[in-house]
């Protein structure tokens, strides 16, 4: 079964909240809790959407995003990415992400953005 969303997030409580919210909407959500191995997880699981935390241990979300966009597999490189950031200015972190959501977020905003991106 195809994976809808891969979330790379190190904060377990935030990860649990996001997963709960999105699972309730009917999407299949998987979690990778570390920056290290994040890109490999994406390449392996081929999610339709990646929710990527900016501040990750070992490898930052920005680096993972750069690697992803530079991937030889064009389909993989084009994977839509929603960047989550706890740094105030989301714009700065945006870069090549398709959408940016700053923490803390409104649950409804999260649902709306993901819905649009998966549509």
């Amino acid at each position: 079964m195809e994976l809808d969303i891969l979330m790379i997030e190190d904060e377990p409580n935030i990860a649990e909240a996001v997963r709960f919210i999105l699972t309730r909407e009917g999407w299949r959500v998987d979690l990778h809790p570390d920056g290290a191995g994040g890109l490999e997880a994406i390449a392996q699981q081929r999610p339709r959407l990646v929710i990527l935390d900016l501040m990750l241990p070992n490898r930052s979300g920005a680096e993972i995003l750069d690697d992803l966009r530079a991937a030889g597999d064009r389909e993989l490189a084009a994977t839509p990415v929603l960047m989550l950031t706890a740094r105030g200015q989301a714009v700065m972190a945006g870069g090549q992400a398709d959408a940016v959501l700053s923490k803390p977020f409104d649950n409804e905003d999260l649902r709306a953005i993901v819905r649009r991106m998966l549509a």
Partner: protein
Amino acid sequence: MPFEGLVAACLVYVALMFAIAYAADRAAERGHVRWLDHPLVYTLSLSVYCSAWTFYGAVGYASRSGLEFLTIYLGPTIVFTGAWWGLRRLVRVARMHHVTSVADLISARFGKSNPLAAIVTLIAVIASTPYIALQLQSVRLSFEVFATDGPNGAALDDGAFGGTGLWVAAGLALFTILFGTRNLAADERHHGVVTAIALEAIIKLLAFVALGIFVVWGLADGPADVLSRMSRAAADPQTAEGWVLQPDRWTVLILVSAAAILTLPRMFQVMVVEAADEERLHVAGWAFPAYLFAMSLFVLPIAVMGRELLPAGENPDLYVLTLPVAAGQDMLALLVFLGGFSAATSMVVVCAIAVATMVSNHWLVPAWLALRQIPAGDEADDLRSFVLNARRLAILAVMAAGWVYHQASGGTAALAAMGLVAFTGMAQVLPAMIGGLLWRGANRKGAYAGIGSGLVLWMSLLFLPSVGIGGPLPVPEGMDAWAATVMLCLTLNTLAFVGVSIFGFPDPVERLQGLSFVSAVEPIRHSRMMRADDRAEPLLAMARRVWGAERALRYFESEARSQGKSGYLPDLTPRFLTRLERRLAGSIGSATAHAMVDRVAGGVALTVSDLLQVADEAQRAKEETQRLEAARAELARTARQLREANDKLTALSVQKDAFLGQISHELRTPMTSVRAFSEILKDPSLTAEERTRFAGIIHTEAGRLTRLLDDLLDLSVLESGRAQLNVSAANLHDVITRALSAASATRSERGFLIDRDLPSEHLAIITDVDRLLQVLINVISNARKYCDAVHPVLIIRVRRPEAGGAVIDIVDNGSGIDSGRQSLIFEKFARLNDPARAGGAGLGLAICREIMLNLGGEISYLPGQGGAAFRILLPPRPPVQAGMGQDVSGTVSGRLEG
């Protein structure tokens, strides 16, 4: 008056002179020269003419020879009133040529000839030695008058006073060296000495006038009475013989004393060398004759009254002292004594400076230079210190010679005779001096002939007879033997000078100097001969040393171009050399520039005064450079401080931004969970388990927020230094035990072995125990959280260092911290490992560091211990906090707030 009192008065007086001289020198150094340069100070300093010979001897002279003593005052008076334009010219020319002495003047006029200056110096030394001896003698005699406590007291054993002359000579030598050789300025002015001498002049005058008033109105019945006594004395056949007016003697005496004021080394020193400019002669022109008049007014009354009132055998040279002593006027006698003392000392000091300058400049330095090469720029220092030392040595030698002469002569000769010998000796310089100033035809050979013959004649006919070698010249009947001899010497001297000058030819330098002296115009730089181009190369090399290669090359190139030449070596035309010298002078001073250009371009040999100026300018340039260097260093320091402050501010600003970003992140993370789950909780379809679990998460995250805020506040208080320390005594063992049990509350999935050395832990410590506990708990908890060993072990070791306090090492057996990140762990938010397991905000070690700083100790990471290793240094006591009354039981403000 007791002898001791007299000595004490002398010492006080001498101390006063030292203080005045010192103060004046300091004022001059600070540039406060206005009052020092006042024409009245100058005029008073001229009174150094009135030595002890005049002070004591004039009365003796008058008592022996009537009015003849007046000639000694008339000569200078005529020079100052009648011929002041000549004096003015002398001062102008001397200042123009930076003349330092009468010998230097003669030498400068006659082609900068040093042998000539050496001969004049010889005359000065021979003439000054007995003159200085005379001053020492007068001091000794005046001491004796007091010590025998009566005019007729038996002469004391020589041993009692033989030392007087020595002490006086030694003291004056010290004064002269201290204030006469302080520096080596080109203008050779000594403000301290001159000011002290001006004050001595006032004391001299006050003493003498006070005595005169006492004699005329106290001992006699006013001026009329004195006049009648004088005419009685003149009628007395016994005295009349000496009182006959002899026109030939008078003429010669006036001539000799007029010559003396121009040529005596000490007079030339105060009148010409110490003069700032010629303008002060306006005042001195009338003020100095007035001073002389005041000094001479009471001479005759004192002489007459002395003869009448004192016993016949009394020494008339000492009437000025014996009269008040005999009259029981102790204070007046003391004042007179000090007057005589000041007359003697001022003469000796100035004379020593003047003669020593000549001896060092015209004997010692040329000898030194003859033994060495001409000094280059860096040797100028060497020369300078040599000159100063030579001058000090010369002062000592001059003093010593005076004292030896005084001892050898036995102090028997009449004071006046010794003074006149000195006068006539220096008068031998007069023809060459006047001729040099007024007559362009005068030349060096003439000066040699005149001064040389004068020296020989004076030595054989006047000086040697005065010390008992050879007899006086036989003269025709009816002529005064002394006057005839002096006239013979001066006439032959003048004839030789004029005659040889007429038949001799001056060399070009001499001719130019002659023109400059006679016309009193600025000296013209002698034109340099044109040289071959191979001289231009070394000139360029020299200019390169001064200016640097590029500028020197550019200048030489432009000069060559202006001469219509290609390349960068211009012809050494006088025009070019003068321009080059002027440009160089802007960088290294004119004398140095002149000397260097001359040396390289092959000009005339340097004279001693040139070299002195070189030394002086080199010194001044050095001081200027040092001052500039200091100012530059100061500027650089300020700039660096500003830069550092700016860097620090920039770094602080960057840190602040990073810190705010971190705080933002650390606050938003728990808030995200809280917000998300609180919204989720609104969903009515949640199961009970889900509700409980989510509420638990919210609770945990809210607690995390609270802890973060607490940490931030704690850190802020600690960093600001406003943290209140609650200091108390404790056992370190107990503190560690409490810390371990508190830290064990930290969730840890594994067993954790603690390795302690219990006996060594029992150390009494004085500190804020709660704060120390906080640090220990933090470090131990970190170990529990991060130690990645399979069987984690925590080793705690404690010892007391020599300085007191305690050292606590906490080491685990994990993989430790990367060496690259060890320096970061005490920074805020420097959380290194998985934050999920840490649960903290990364402020712990930063807080630990601040706590330890507040406790006066420190916490550091110990690299190379296998695992993570922390060392906590605890001082014997925490530092007393600024502005906070703190004691062991806590702070006052703490209790009030609490």
